[in-house]
Symmetry: C2
Subunit: 365 residues, 2 copies
């Protein structure tokens, strides 16, 4: 550390110069995050000093966390769902698998995860000592439910389905997975970190949530399509009592026990998450999602016109293409199978799409 | 969710009403958090949309994380320390133990933790499948190093020492633990989540960090005495290469692998953490810590004058007393052994101490 402090003006000149080295979101087509909605930023600032890790001190902020869980639970067809605001999809996935592991104490536990599963499942398995069995995908990059079922055995503590896969934006056949889960009595966790705030707002939403009786838990991230601030994830469970298995005793806090993965937890990003949902309502979210889906369709159509074929017709706002060059300055990403991948987040407006297509057209002319 | 959105004015009227239900920090004497320094709040806002989970998009923010690690590593006498900004002490402790477990693959791994250890060690052991061996404390609530050493066996993957215990504010005999760690070839993790930003600024700091050759990793939280924003922890390791054992591959991101526990990670609270350290420098931090320690001494003296005896003379700014009643409105906490506990954070000013002592005096008159 410096011996003497740095004057505020010099410090912020330095910080601003660093901030300018970051890319602006307007050319980022590869991220499942997006700049926070202005409502989120305002709510975040209002709750900046709050700590949900010591709930007795911040009962108003706790009420907002409860409201977030209630709103998302209701959206997922289960107003009585248990839940809490996590640091994001990885914590949600770890905690869901931790619950599942405790519910079925076997000596060599395994989980069955689609090959399209987010890498956080590898982390979770490494941490929790779970064997990860990878279920193959069908030609449309959705999990093959029958093959997944075949991987389930007496040591399987959880089966995973994905709503809005990271690479191709697909929705797994959750209804079929739900049937398997009920039939084989296995915990079904739905990773809807991305799609959980897309699918309910589509014109024709497919069932993927607690409406399906086999679904035991759902991960959904307000800091992705919820346009919240980072970090804001949410883990929802059908049976609120299953969090009890994660409790540790917490002497010297205002509560006696806690089930969260982290201790000190920001209230700011939770307030921001709930603020956006309240501000927009179902109507507003439908409009945002309709825009993203329309832009995704326009992007696919435009790309195919210039000779870049879609890899698949996506279920949510992630588009993938058989082409390898992107114009300079733009950030696209690449799937493991080598497709160009673009996430049509809210900041990827129609104008952005047209500008990108124009430059792509020049490359592929 | 609501069908129709809520007007901004009504929404913020609601949010503000919830915020008012939270307690103000001025009467919170029980927390290891404190309102963010104004510099932290300003830096946080500047970096609100950044995501360290996708570093290639935010190279300027990544440089600030590297600067934070360098500053804290240097403060801990090891400028070449490896490290990253965690979500807080719990993640830091989990990750340190995860590294230790990987370094020594045994079939029934255990760790040795002081009885004063934070409850996050219970979480970490539960998650990682580690046996937690609890080392007893001496009469001054510091771990009995010899007893801790006696608990170490061939299956011990880590030994833990604490710098600034949560309940009594004590510093374990880290030099003795370091000797044991070297002698028995065991990974020594120091939980300095609280004390890591206190001890280096004391008039007579005791050695507790990488200066001691047996120390392998250190947890230190800018969101506690660093007056940063939540979430901001930091895990430092002597050997940067040991993070490699935690890596998972990260297709479709701008980097190829990541070793962090979470995926999407806020840049805002990292910028805030480093901003406070740069703004204050060693001088400024020494002044903050000197004030907190002076207030701690004044509190103890004042409490003893009215008949509430100290439980112990603390090493850092946590004071504990043999008395059971506190004046209404004030939030103090209680240790497992039943002592009243007060953390003299920066918001607990001399005026706050005097006001509290006055009301205590009226109760105990």
């Amino acid at each position: 550390m410096r011996e003497h402090g740095c004057p505020e003006e010099d410090l912020f000149s330095f910080l601003s110069s660093k901030r300018r080295e970051d890319l602006g979101y307007h050319k980022i087509l590869s991220s499942m995050c997006t700049p926070p909605h202005p409502i989120a930023a305002r709510a975040h600032a209002l709750f900046l000093e709050t700590n949900l890790g010591d709930p007795g001190l911040f009962p108003g902020t706790v009420a907002l966390e409860e409201l977030l869980v209630e709103r998302l639970g209701t959206l997922m067809h289960h107003p009585e769902a248990g839940g809490y605001a996590t640091s994001g999809g990885t914590e949600s996935n770890i905690q869901a698998l931790r619950i599942a592991k405790k519910l079925k104490p076997v000596s060599s536990p395994n989980i069955v995860v689609p090959a399209s599963g987010h890498f956080s499942f590898q982390k979770a398995c490494d941490i929790l000592g779970l064997e990860m069995r990878v279920a193959p995908l069908d030609a449309n990059f959705r999990v093959d439910a029958e093959a997944a079922g075949d991987l389930v055995d007496k040591n399987t503590v959880a089966l995973v389905g994905i709503v809005g896969t990271t690479e191709y934006g697909m929705i797994d056949p959750i209804a079929a997975l739900s049937d398997i889960a009920l039939d084989r009595d296995v915990f079904l966790h739905i990773d809807a970190a991305f799609g959980g705030l897309v699918v309910p707002f589509l014109d024709h939403p497919v069932p993927f949530d607690f409406e399906l009786p086999g679904v035991a838990s759902i991960s959904v991230d307000p800091h992705k399509m919820g346009m919240g601030t980072i970090p804001a994830g949410c883990l929802l469970v059908r049976d609120p009592s299953c969090f009890a298995s994660l409790n540790v005793e917490t002497p010297y806090l205002t509560v006696k026990r806690e089930c969260t993965l982290t201790g000190t937890r920001p209230g700011a990003s939770v307030a921001a998450a709930v603020a956006v949902l309240e501000y927009l309502g179902m109507d507003g979210m439908r409009a945002v999602v309709a825009g993203c889906m329309e832009n995704t369709r326009r992007l696919i159509e435009g790309m195919e016109t210039i000779g870049c074929q879609r890899a698949v017709s996506p279920d949510v706002n992630v588009a993938t293409f058989s082409c390898d060059r992107a114009p300079p300055g733009w950030r696209v990403s690449r799937t493991r199978a080598g497709h160009m991948r673009i996430v049509c987040m809210p900041h990827v407006t129609r104008d952005v799409i047209e500008a990108f297509l124009k430059e792509m057209g020049e490359i592929y002319a």
